[in-house]
Every structure is written in C-alpha cells, then in structure tokens.
C-alpha cells in the first residue's frame, strides 16, 4: 500500500483547519495544520509535504510572505491559495501559487483543485 500524500493547511482560523483536516482525511490524505505562516514554514522544513493549502490574511507572517518562504525551501511544491478575499488574485506575489480558490461554504472547488494537483505530482 502506497504512503498517503501529505497536505499542509496553513490558516489562522481553527475552524477552517479542523474542517479541512476532516474533509481531506476522508479523501484519503494525511493532513497537518499550522495556525500561522511561521509554524507552517517550520513544519515544511521538518516534514515531507506534498501540497500546501495557504490562507493569505493571517497575523504575523501572512500567506504572501509564507509563499515566498515556501518557494525558497521547495520551489516545485504545489501551493493552493485559499482565501476569503478574491482581490489578492491581482497581487503578483500570489501568482507563484499553482491555484487560487476563494473560500466558500462549498469545498468542491478546493477538493477538485487539490486532487488534480496531487494526481499530477
């Protein structure tokens, strides 16, 4: 049996972290979570991760800075930005992410995006 692929969720909203953990574990993935950009980067340095779901608006190191750090550690790692705000799409510093999904009650778009990226990798 092949090892489960690991998703790292970086989001300061505890409810989002718990929801995404449950949903993606149900889909057969391992999930780790971090409540800040700093914690997420630390996990990325210590553990093998296959994909990152990244919030933008977080206290301290926000998602944009975290994305730069992720690029410096593992530039080919797929990152999906998952933000409540669509205007960050216009920010060039988010364009290094593989996908941008606006948060909504329906997680289908996020699930499909993540599955597509992980199937490619």
């Amino acid at each position: 049996m092949s090892e489960k692929k690991m998703i790292l969720v970086i989001d300061d909203d505890k409810n989002i972290r718990e929801l995404l953990s449950l949903e993606f574990e149900d889909l057969g993935y391992s999930v780790r979570t971090a409540g800040s950009g700093f914690d997420g980067i630390q996990i990325l340095k210590d553990k093998a991760v296959d994909l990152v779901i990244l919030d933008i608006k977080m206290p301290g190191m926000d998602g944009i800075e975290a994305l730069e750090k992720i690029m410096s550690i593992h530039k080919e790692l797929p990152v999906v930005i998952h933000s409540a705000y669509s205007h960050y799409k216009e920010n060039y510093l988010t364009w290094s992410a593989m996908a941008y999904v606006v948060k909504s009650g329906n997680l289908e778009e996020l699930k499909n995006t993540v599955q597509n990226l992980l199937n490619k990798s």
Partner: protein, 399 residues
C-alpha cells in the same frame, strides 16, 4: 506617445561579474567598468533611459556592487523624488531564495514586490553591460502597435559572430518563430546572405504576461534565464515580436564588451563615433559624473600634439604626444612622453619620456619617467597583466 507619460517600469540588470574583463572587474561589476576614460558602461543605458523620458528605473546589483552604487549616487541622483522619479540601486536581497540570483529571469522574479508596489502596465528590462544609444520610444510604439506580450530588440550580425548570442527567426510580421540561445549553427535571415538576427538583451513586456511566465518558470528546474528559458517558452502561447534595432535612430552601433579585446576595440570605435557625432549628439547626451575640476592644461617648452584622441577635464599634459587614445580626468602626462592606442583612466600619473602603446590604465595608475609599455613584448609579459597583446594596469597600480 512618450515614455515619460506611460505607466512603465524599467529594470536594468547590472549584476554582471565580467570575469573576462579582469582585472578591470577586480574591484567592480561589469556595468561599473569605465568606458572611453569618461563614462561607466552603465552610463549608456541610463542615458538612453533618461533621453527617452524614462523616469522610474531600478538597477539590480549583485556582486562587487559598491563601486556601481557609489557611481549611481554621485552621478545619477538628479531625478525628482517628489514626482516619483528615481534611479535606484536594488541589491540582491534574498527575499525569496537564500542564493544569489540564479539567472536574469530570477533577478526579476526575486523583485516582484517592486512590480506589485507600482502595478505598471509595461516593463522594460535592459542589460547594464552594453554600449549603445537607443530611443526606447521607438521600441514602445512598436510594442503597442503590434499588441505584443513581449517585444525583443534584435539586430542582424554576421553568422560567424552569432553563436555567442541568442539567435532568432521571425515571420513577415516580425513575430518571433524560433529562439535558440548560443546555437552551434545559427539560423540565417532568409534573403539576407550570411546574417542572423540576435537578441540584444532589451525586452519590453506586458506586465501580466511577464509575471505569469516568470512565476511558472520559478517553480521549475530551469536556468531562470530570459534567453535560455523565458523567451523560447513564450513563443507558442504568447505574441513575441522582434524590433529591428538596425532600422532605429541609433541602429548603427551596439557592442557587447565581453572580453578585453572587445572592450579595447569598442573604446577605439567610440573614438571614431565621437569624431562623427553619431552616438553622442547635443540632443542625446551621455551622462556621467560631473566633477568641478579645472579645464585641462596643455603646455610646456615644446608643443603638445594630440591626434584622434579625447582628453577629459582637470588633466595636465606637458610637451607630450597623444595619438588614438582616450585620456580621463585629472591625468598627468610628463614632458616628452608618447601615448598611442591607449585608454588612460582618471588620476593616472605618467612621468617624463615614457612610451605607452596598446595599454589600458585603470584609475590611479602611476608610472615613473622613462617607462616603456608596448615596446618590448617580452618585458611587458614580466611586468604587466597582458591580454591579447594589450597591457592592463589595474586600479592604483604603481610601477
């Protein structure tokens, strides 16, 4: 249409090490190397920017950047910050990667925040390594009219010289159809005999297209280089056009001074260009450091002879003979000395009865009376750094 009124941001890539120009690059990066004993190499591209109306310029520096940054502060600090005009040196900050810039495209990608801060519609990317004049308004007009995502300035050169550049082909509408960096067998221009179009390292991008492809390239294992990766990778999905530099206002002259021999020849060519006023004109000045030095003095018991040469301000020439040479500022040449086919940069001191031929003196070189350079090749080899028959005396060298 004038670039001064367009939403455009300019980057000058000025991190070139210039290893083949050693020892002129011992203390400075290639763009900061002196040229024509008057300018720095980067002064040409900066002058073209200012003369074209460009007022927002980031100069990306990397190794041995102090000399260049000092030159920018001293010579290019005249724009109005209150009007958001600037020429600003940006050192490699390692924001994204903890390494130096991995390639020309990586240099821009690592500075995306500067683009995000200003959101320009178009971006000009220039090399700080080349000697030329260009009115970028001509390039911009072509870029807009052709509705290109990227317009590359190109020029025809002989096939024998093309292999060291990016070589491209274009269709009848000047859309670039192929682009190969340093090809073994460069593609010829149909119907133009033995000539090929080469990339001059002058790029005008639509910003969104550029960022999209740079972000993609940054995630991939490439050389992160405009010539190697970005331009070839854009040809299929983006409109990439070639602007024929040779047909533009200053299209007769462009030099990549990669080696000491290229550098020396370009200096001598520049001497000829000055004579015919083709590259520096009253309405297209080349800027450089403006020091308050007295005029050059020429005198002594016997006459001073100067033939096909330039002499900068503050120098003192005493009963000497100067031919086919470029003399910098605050240079002293003693009585009876002869200088031929040489480049003598600032603050050099040449004693009496010296002979200097086929030599490059960097800043502050001092040679005593009766010194001979370029007369006895064997003796020169023992005393000087030689390259292709040219003696190079590095900065502050004292014999």
């Amino acid at each position: 249409m004038n670039l001064q009124h367009e939403n455009i941001l300019t980057f000058i890539l000025a991190g070139g090490k210039g290893n083949r120009l050693y020892p002129l690059t011992r203390h400075r990066s290639k763009p900061a190397v002196h040229f024509a004993a008057r300018f720095r190499i980067i002064d040409f591209v900066l002058s073209s920017c200012i003369n074209s109306g460009i007022r927002q310029v980031f100069v990306l520096t990397q190794t041995k950047s102090f000399s260049l940054e000092q030159h920018l502060r001293r010579s290019w600090n005249f724009l109005a910050a209150q009007l958001d005009e600037f020429i600003a040196a940006v050192p490699a900050q390692q924001r994204i990667s903890e390494k130096w810039y991995q390639g020309t495209a990586d240099a821009i990608f690592q500075n995306l925040h500067l683009i995000q801060d200003r959101h320009p519609e178009h971006i000009i990317i220039l090399s700080g390594d080349h000697i030329y004049s260009m009115d970028y308004n001509e390039l911009f007009r072509y870029h807009i009219e052709s509705e290109s995502d990227l317009t590359v300035s190109v020029m025809p050169i002989k096939k024998a010289d093309a292999s060291q550049f990016g070589v491209l082909t274009m269709d009848d509408d000047h859309r670039i159809t192929s682009f190969i960096e340093k090809p073994e067998d460069p593609a010829l221009i149909p119907g133009e005999g033995d000539e090929c179009f080469i990339n001059m390292g002058i790029y005008l991008f639509r910003t969104n297209s550029m960022v999209r492809i740079l972000a993609k390239d940054a995630r991939e294992a490439t050389s992160h280089d405009f010539g190697m990766n970005i331009i070839p990778g854009m040809l299929e999905k983006y409109k990439v056009s070639g602007f024929d530099f040779k047909k533009s206002r200053f299209g007769h002259y462009w030099r990549d001074v990669g080696t000491i021999r290229n550098y020396f020849d370009a200096n001598m060519e520049f001497l000829e260009q000055l004579g015919t006023n083709l590259i520096c004109t009253p309405d297209w000045p080349i800027g450089s450091i403006g020091l308050r030095l007295p005029p050059t003095y020429m005198g002594g018991i016997n006459k001073v002879t100067i033939e096909n040469s330039t002499v900068d301000i503050g120098s003192k020439l005493v009963s000497c003979k100067i031919k086919n040479s470029l003399i910098g500022r605050y240079v002293h040449v003693g009585e009876g000395s002869i200088i031929e086919n040489s480049i003598i940069m600032s603050r050099a001191s040449i004693g009496e009865n010296c002979i200097v031929r086929n030599a490059i003196f960097d800043d502050g070189v001092q040679i005593p009376s009766n010194t001979q350079i370029g007369v006895d090749a064997d003796a020169d080899k023992d005393r000087f750094f030689m390259s292709d028959g040219i003696a190079i005396l590095p900065k502050q060298f004292q014999l």
